[in-house]
């Protein structure tokens, strides 16, 4: 076990170093592709904390991504006006932290009504929330703060400080942090509690677990990580509008990626995001009008395929080869 852990850690450190080298030397096009890959992977992994480990399908996960982007832009624009261009690093740091804190607070508040429902109702209510947040952010009443329909952008002096390379390292750090949290949750005792709640909520309540508390914790963690992804997106793109971050097309990206790769694992969402980023870019460039059709077909395929994903498929194959016919859960 110890040796195993050491080996895995070494592999991940090597991957991290390689990624940093790529960030320093690769061409800008690949860097921006990789930034999107990191952002998608962060979203998928953070979705997986609530969706995969706890079994609550949060279709509105993207809300916190958008909130992160918006809050980051609002806060850093104000900080820039106060502190000027001298303290740019500090203001990025402060803006990121405070927007994550604000998004977590919103998640904590939302968890009270949302966790009174489960299953289908939870999924559709969270889906409806995307529309609500979209309406609120683009409303004329909010437009002095959020910029309404036309969106929000970083102040131009500030936007000059952002370049693909520093955004790359920001996104990479965020992905590494998300992976670490995902692994810690899966290795810790909290995993047992989560799977207990996932399998049978009433039974776990009888054994003295407070399901609401744990669901709330998972929701807040996943929301905080999604909003981190949003801050990286905002720092990289320096502009966004409600149709870009609160859109239903993007809302399903984390779910499709997590389930395509294999929910409840670390490698799964990473593999899923690599495949997805490449395919999605190709589709958007070559067949923009058919993107939704193809995504729908992928959703149906993933739904039929027991949603154990690529990782599940590979595991199933290797188990067949080793001829150990132990009973295993579908994930």
């Amino acid at each position: 076990m110890r040796k195993d852990l050491l080996r895995t850690t070494t592999v991940w450190i090597v991957i991290l170093v390689l990624a940093s080298l790529v960030g320093m030397f690769a061409a800008p096009y690949y860097i921006s592709l990789l930034i999107f890959l990191f952002i998608y992977a962060t979203l998928a992994l953070s979705y997986d904390i609530l969706g995969g480990l706890l079994g609550y399908m949060n279709l509105g996960h993207i809300i916190f991504y958008g909130l992160g982007a918006y809050l980051f832009a609002i806060i850093i624009n104000n900080l820039f006006m106060i502190w000027g261009s001298q303290l740019i690093l500090l203001s990025v740091f402060v803006a990121t932290l405070s927007s994550v804190a604000a998004a977590s607070g919103i998640a904590a508040l939302l968890s009270y009504p949302l966790f009174r429902i489960k299953g289908f109702y939870f999924a559709v209510a969270t889906l409806g929330l995307i529309t609500l947040v979209n309406i609120i952010t683009s409303s004329p009443e909010m437009s002095p703060i959020t910029g309404g329909f036309s969106g929000i952008s970083l102040v131009s002096d500030l936007a000059r400080e952002s370049n693909p390379r520093n955004s790359y390292f920001m996104a990479m750090t965020i992905l590494a942090l998300t992976s670490l949290i995902h692994v810690l949750i899966r290795r810790g005792t909290i995993r047992n509690i989560f799977s207990c709640i996932k399998e049978d909520e009433q039974a776990s309540e009888c054994t003295g677990i407070n399901p609401f508390r744990y669901k709330q914790i998972a929701f807040i963690i996943s929301a905080a990580l999604a909003s981190l992804a949003g801050t990286a997106y905002m720092w990289f793109q320096t502009y966004t509008n409600p149709r870009l971050v609160f859109a239903l097309e993007i809302a399903f990206l984390p779910i499709i990626i997590a389930l395509l790769g294999g929910s409840g694992t670390l490698v799964g969402p990473l593999i899923g995001s690599i495949i997805f980023t490449l395919v999605y870019q190709l589709l958007l460039v070559n067949l923009p009008s058919l993107t939704k059709l193809i995504m729908g077909s992928v959703l149906i395929a993933v739904g039929i395929g027991a949603s154990s994903g690529i990782v599940g498929l590979v595991r199933g194959l290797s188990r067949l080869r080793r001829k150990t016919y132990e009973a295993s859960p579908p994930y």
Partner: protein
């Protein structure tokens, strides 16, 4: 602006809109109660029916003919679509454990929704479509009420009555009620649950089609992307009124329809789409277990 006459006219609009929501929600509630699957593509079926009606009307260039023809063509078609969705996609996954069944069916119905949206957008374009039937409005005192509102009200009432009789008097209706109350006991009694569930999907799709046709007939605009918001509205109606109850769907639909219309008229049209989801969250907040207790 806010004269009593104007208020009454808006109220009539709200009641009619609520009736349409009730019909749509009835289909969704039936599918969920019997097949145990929340059909997220339900709103997209409504959208498909509405825009196919639009297509028929522009094809014949004669609103009344197109509109009379629409149910004749669409109802059998949607029955088959509903049956096809259930037996082709949802039945194969019904053997899985509840956790994975929920997950898979959400993905499947969302996939159907995406595909329908993209197909309709490709063939009909993404512009909002609406039709004008060309009837003279009825005048009652000083208030003028569009003639089609009255027809819609009649259709909705007729649907509710037919449905009520269907659930009480026919074998299939009784079987459906039995399955909704207790799945296991009814399978012991020899009710073919899969077949009943497939029928419920077919009938639910028919209700969606009727909803779409009268939505269009009233001159409400429709885009290919309206589906998901209609699903959310239908869900709100179910939550407000209580699942699996005819009267509940009617009451919930009226509440939502009137609230939306009055918000639109007296506050701002911008905010009326937000009302359904706010209502949903507020009701879930007030009633700790949700009005639908499992």
């Amino acid at each position: 602006m806010a004269t009593p006459i104007f208020f009454i006219e808006s109220l009539v609009d709200g009641i009619v809109l609520g009736g349409i929501y009730a019909v749509i929600a009835l289909g969704l509630s039936m599918m969920y109660g019997i097949a145990g699957v929340l059909n997220i593509a339900h709103g997209d079926l409504v959208m498909l029916a509405g825009l196919l009606t639009f297509g028929l009307i522009t094809f014949f260039d004669q609103p009344v003919i197109g509109f009379v023809l629409a149910p004749v063509i669409l109802l059998p078609l949607f029955f088959l679509i509903g049956l096809g969705i259930f037996s082709g996609l949802l039945k194969p996954i019904s053997k899985r454990s509840p956790q994975y069944q929920i997950l898979s069916s959400i993905l499947l119905t969302l996939g159907i929704s995406f595909i329908l949206q993209d197909l309709v957008a490709t063939f009909l374009g993404t512009l909002p479509r609406s039709i004008y039937m060309g009837f003279q409005p009825l005048r009652i005192g000083e208030a003028s009420i569009p003639f089609f509102r009255v027809i819609t009200f009649g259709i909705v009432l007729l649907m509710i009555i037919v449905f009520w009789i269907f659930l009480r008097q026919t074998f299939l209706g009784k079987a459906m009620r039995a399955v909704t109350y207790n799945r296991e006991s009814s399978s012991f009694l020899g009710i073919p649950i899969d077949r009943v569930a497939a029928m419920s999907f077919g009938l639910g799709a028919i209700l969606a089609a009727i909803g779409g046709v009268i939505y269009m007939g009233n001159g409400f605009p429709m885009t290919p992307f309206i589906g998901l918001s209609l699903t959310v509205k239908a869900l709100t109606v179910i939550v407000v009124g209580g699942a699996g109850k005819l009267a509940g769907a009617l009451v919930g639909g009226m509440v939502l329809g009137i609230a939306e219309t009055l918000t639109g008229v007296f506050v701002s049209f911008y905010w009326s789409p937000a009302l359904a989801i706010i209502l949903l969250l507020v009701i879930l907040m007030i009633k700790p277990t949700g009005i639908i207790g499992d």
